[in-house]
Subunit: 374 residues, 2 copies
């Protein structure tokens, strides 16, 4: 398969990944790390996944603090392909600026936006869904990829499927009835049962100019500003701080869905946003979990230990996930759904069931004079 | 209170403490460590507890490999007060040799044998029980101290109380009906309910010569040999290896009990043998647990974290025990009855409920080329 003509990838590489501390740190966020033991960082895996679809037509938008790290991990990118945001302003300004830059190079271009810190296990299904989304986007819609739910997750927003669009070149594509917020557990179960809901993974495929037109309906100033910056990057300094901090979902996707301008390609990709250690542990246990290796000498019948990193682990009667790069011997006895992160300056031991509460620990660091560990 | 005239303390300092690895190691066993954060090792705490009762009339019997460490922790002991066993032969040869050495200095002496690696929280009750036991021992019996059970433990042997002896100077002392083996859980509950059973803590108080006479009934050779070594320490080399490897319980206490020659002073001492991490965690949570300090910033309502060592711990929703001397920050989230040992070369994470299974991990070390960590 060859690259899709006129198709560009935009990779927003932001987000602090607090719930994956101390792997993810302020100075070295989640997307720079190999969370799954696949041998490459999430960012590099994202590039790998997109390169067959776009060749070198790719833009990475990241914080200025991470520009060097991004360039180091993706040395194949040209200098102009990495855009540094002076300050974080959520996804809409980042993707909007990328759209304005792409539009200048090719007014007919279609762009696809894919976060730098997600996991996709089924690369073939991903390619196929993106090709269909690009075909649908050429008809003028904003197209999203709707992930088939594998569990009643309360951590993701959902997409309610509408009627099939009936396009020959995009046969699975359907209208989006609406985007719905993260549900409670009961609602999530109902969504799963009906079969009419998909996870919103934040993957958007759309004509660059179409996106800016949709954005202009509610945020005309932002469109003017990103086009000005795209024409003269020196304007970044004064204009960027004026841009509204807003996610693409609220700025464009939801209003466009209400106007029946959004389509969805339903797909099963083995996708996860690996938002916390519980989700990462689950990901590592999924069929074909990339790079997951059993622990040294895991012995007991109910043992299920996954090790990411070079850590040497011996375990008995344990179900645990270990992230370790120190040369210490790690011994586990009788654990159940525990995650352990062993680094030089921080040791974390966490019950997966309460993975969300990690944010409390991270939030307290500054007050304890431990801001350097954040 | 002053030292008891004619009373000697014998401290067998042996045992590998495998179930407390990696705190306890082959080259640095349990009794050399401050397991409870009291500020002193178990051995030193044992000395502290006995010194008011015996002054300098104390013998420590330990493996030759640990002689230097014992002398370093107890510099107040004279050179002859530390006896090095060329090889481990269980408790009877160790205590028997000590008895023969003491008998030579004072034929009327009473000795008390107290393990170097137990915890006693109520020192006053201990002193009082020992004084009564010495008084009873002067009547010619082997006297043990029977610990009031605080839970239906299956980890200890039990003593069944018989009739009161009716001694004026030892009013609580009773005959021992029998020593019984470690019970199953159901039996342990029954023992607790009847109120007629006490834990066998291996504390024996007896005239030195009486002990050797009782021993001679079944092990006359051993008595000859330990008396020969006591008279001429150069004979240690050839005679020690010939001594039968046997515990004082089997060699003397059980047969003497069958002959109604054993008495018991029942007592509540806050005693534990801290045999594994579950028992140590429990000890640290008991009222007045020595030196137990709350974790830094332990916050959540159900938080109960004890830290032994200099480790800095922050925890949320956790019940855990942390032994740490590295300078790493330790973060805990959502744990329940977990013990963590953080050392330079080994990290252990263990569910207290399965503390016994740690032996499997330790047993596997050699086969993994990690014998140096044992």
């Amino acid at each position: 398969m060859s690259a899709i003509p006129g198709f560009w990838a935009v990779i927003p590489a932001g987000g602090s990944g607090t719930r994956l501390w101390p792997i993810s740190r302020r100075q070295s966020p989640k997307f720079l790390h190999d969370l799954t033991g696949s041998g490459q960082s999430l960012l590099r895996a994202t590039w790998d996944r997109l390169e067959p679809l776009v060749g070198d037509q790719m833009l990475v938008v990241t914080g200025v603090a991470h520009e060097d790290a991004v360039r180091a991990q993706l040395p194949m990118l040209g200098h102009d392909a990495v855009v540094g945001e002076p300050s974080p302003r959520d996804s809409m300004p980042a993707i909007g600026l990328a759209a304005a830059m792409i539009e200048r190079r090719d007014p007919e271009a279609v762009l696809g936006s894919f976060a730098a810190d997600h996991v996709v296990r089924d690369t073939d299904a991903f390619e196929s869904a993106v090709r269909e989304a690009v075909a649908a986007a050429r008809h003028g819609d904003l197209v999203t990829i709707g992930i088939e739910p594998t569990r009643p997750s309360t951590a993701f927003g959902y997409i309610r499927l509408g009627d099939p669009l009936g396009l020959d070149e995009a046969p699975n594509t359907r209208r989006v009835d609406e985007f719905v917020e993260k549900p409670d557990a009961e609602t999530a179960c109902r969504y799963l049962e009906t079969g009419e809901f998909r996870w919103n993974a934040g993957m958007f495929v759309v004509g660059a100019t179409t996106l800016l037109e949709l954005l202009a309906e509610n945020h005309a100033d932002m469109v003017d500003h990103v086009r000005t910056i795209a024409a003269d990057p020196r304007r970044m300094r004064d204009l960027w701080p004026t841009l509204q901090k807003i996610a693409i979902d609220h700025a464009v996707a939801e209003p466009a869905a209400a106007a029946a301008r959004v389509a969805v390609v339903p797909a099963a990709l083995g996708w996860d946003d690996v938002g916390d250690f519980a989700s990462l542990a689950q990901q590592l246990r999924s069929a074909g979990g990339a790079g997951a290796v059993p622990a040294v000498g895991t012995a007991a019948g109910d043992g299920d230990v996954r090790v990411v990193g070079s850590a040497q682990v011996d375990a008995v009667s344990s179900r645990a996930t270990v992230y370790g790069a120190t040369d210490r011997h790690i011994a586990l006895v009788g654990l159940d759904r525990i995650s352990i992160v062993d680094t030089d300056d921080v040791l974390l031991v966490l019950a997966d069931e309460q993975a969300q509460e990690l944010t409390e620990i991270v939030a307290r660091l500054e007050g304890q004079g431990l801001g350097h560990l954040r």
